[in-house]
Amino acid sequence: MKKFKMVLIMVAIGVSILTPALGGAAEKYPTKPIELVVPFAAGGSTDVLARLVAKYAPKYFDQPLVVVNKPGGGGVIGTEGVVRSRPDGYSLYMGYGSGHDLVMPHFQKLPYKTFEDLIPICRLSVHSVAMVIRADAPYKNFKEFVEWGKKKPQVTASVSTKAGSVDITFQALGKATGLKIVTIPFRGGAESVTAIVGGQTDIGANHPSEIISHIKAKRLIPVGVALEQRDPALPDVPTFRELGYDVVTVGSVKGVAAPKGTPPEVVKYLAERFKKVCEDPEFIREMKNIGQPVMYQGPEEFAKYLKDGFEQYGRLIKEFNIKLE
């Protein structure tokens, strides 16, 4: 009898130990806060997007979203961190589709495979490349700028990083217009905006979120966007295609990704909830205010969009023979 009791107790203990482990798997995701990794420094446009999303998340997600910054290597370090993390849906990469995803791989080898090691969850916004000129410049739109530029040995353009999406776009434009555009890299979007506002360069380009306050203040005039269609954040600004130059990019795409191996139910859950956030009118309004239009896309469309964007950059680089010096 005693032995039987012992066995019973052992079984009971065994079951109670195992159940949480099994139950853990059977319990609905998510059961603890979800980490949103931003591979850039706090304060940048991706970071602000992440925090804004996190602000509205409690309305639609069952667990809070926690923003974590892991800057370094132009975005590679933080992304790599997510790639190597456990694919349980608790560590997500915010910013999928940025420069280091779509442009950098054409020039360098990364320590992970951008498209194979990550599962796209959804697209949140697109940060286009928008060209701006100073309001008091001797040219008032892109056409005039080109004419003005043709008379000079070179024109200077401020860009946020060498070989980033902006830089590539300028180089392509240079070849398309016949102007000699010398890109001057600064350390990040903020510095390059300061440069063009201060008139240090002839033209500049940034993402709308970086320049929207200056546009409102009438210091900068946007003259063109390198996008397939007009950017909702700058609806009055023509695309370069409209202006006659076939320079189209996807800009810097901001989406969410999870490491390879994340269960499909988790992906589905996340995609749905993010969609709900993107449909929230307050969220849309706030995003519009800061110049980041809400452009949701689900996992399959997003995946295709990314691939297309990546190839598009590749074509641009080949066609215009853009090199990293």
Binding site: G72, I184, V197, E325
Partner: protein, 505 residues
Amino acid sequence: MSEFLDLFQGLISGFGIAFSPVNILFALIGALLGTMVGVLPGLGPAATISLLLPISFKIGSPVTSIIMMAGIFYGAMYGGSTTSILVNIPGEAASVVTCIDGYQMALKGRAGPALGIAAIGSFIAGTIGVIGLTFVAPPLAEFALKFGPPEYFALTLFGLLMATLIGEGSILKGLIMVVLGLLLGAVGLDPISGAIRFTWGLFMLQEGIDFVTLAMGMFGIGEILINLEKKLSTELVSRKITNVFPTLKDWADSKWPIMRGSFIGFIIGILPGGGAVISSLVSYAVEKKLSKTPEQFGKGAIQGVAGPESANNSAASASFIPLLTLGIPGNAAIAMIFAALLIQGVQPGPFLITERPDLFWGVVASMYIGNVMLLILNLPLVGMWVQLLRVPYAILAPIIVLFCCIGVYSIRNTVFDIYVMGVFGVIGYLFRKVDLQPGPLILAFVLGRIMEPALRQSLLMSAGSPWIFFQRPISGTLMTFLILFILFQIVRMAWKSRRNKGGDI
């Protein structure tokens, strides 16, 4: 005249806002946090503010959160000098200069006066900075915009020159350290060309060496290693600790350095990027030049603390100007505040004053209050800090090492940085043995990372012509000044060595 009245009106309403209990509370919290953060090596105001971003929107009101963050920012400036003086470890780049004379004063038992003067000077400077912010913000901000790569190059070159001069000991050694510092600054991703330099394949080095790691290593660990050589079972300060507060003479000596420092700091502080560091350097050099006892500098001259500390505090106040008037963040910490505002739906920019006067004036007013608060907080603490030096070095040493480790770790959450710090510790230790001072190296490191890109950007802008530096009014003036200055120095040196032959250069 009516503009003046408008300003006053704004200011008064700002005070009304700033004096609300909630805002005062958060200003206090911010100041406290900032001081702590400034004292603790590693964590800087930028990192702290970014950690607090999520809390900032729980607070609800953007005015309150920016008040708190501003408190953190200049609190950190106050705190940064504490470790510089006490243990020769700069809390952040702007405090490096304070190490030079501050630490010497501490070793002589005068840590109290050093800390006290630093606090008082910072207060006065901070207040002057805020006054400047109130009255001349917009036009000065426009001026700051005119600073492009050539101007930055000229300015940092100037700063670099100062850095060679401030080291005690031979100028040649100072120069060597500067060059080394510049080389170290080149490690990592080159922003201009995209090429990766000097990383030996280590991905961790791609962003370059972090200032904190370098500073902790060379100053902190290096210092400890050197001290370990002697069996110091007693206190660090062998002499009796004299009065805890600055004497009247100290005050008299420091009056003008504080004033000058405040102005220098304010003007240079408006410039985005590196304002505080350069201003503390310039202030030190100015004080040394103007002093009647320049030999004292490097051995514990109180002006060497008063000037730079004031400079970096008014620079801190000034760095808010581009943010509040133009919507341009001047450094990492301000960039965080910028982001926090964005998330709360406020757009920093030229319209901030008119659209949200409550925010603008509320913040300005709270900066006045914050400065006062910090002074009240810090002065009594001076006594406490001085007591810390009484702790036997045997116990203090490992604790300091730990602080450095944690501080360094907290930057990127990797142990790798601790290793790097260790390496620099050894290097710093060896350097000290051959009488090479780490100060110029670290300053060159910071300045170099601004200077080299600025140089290359300028050349890109001018399509290779070096004349660009002289064609633009501001950089032209600076460069001319620089050249004259160098010529002057050479002449002086030649003259001097003619007088005493065979001396060290």
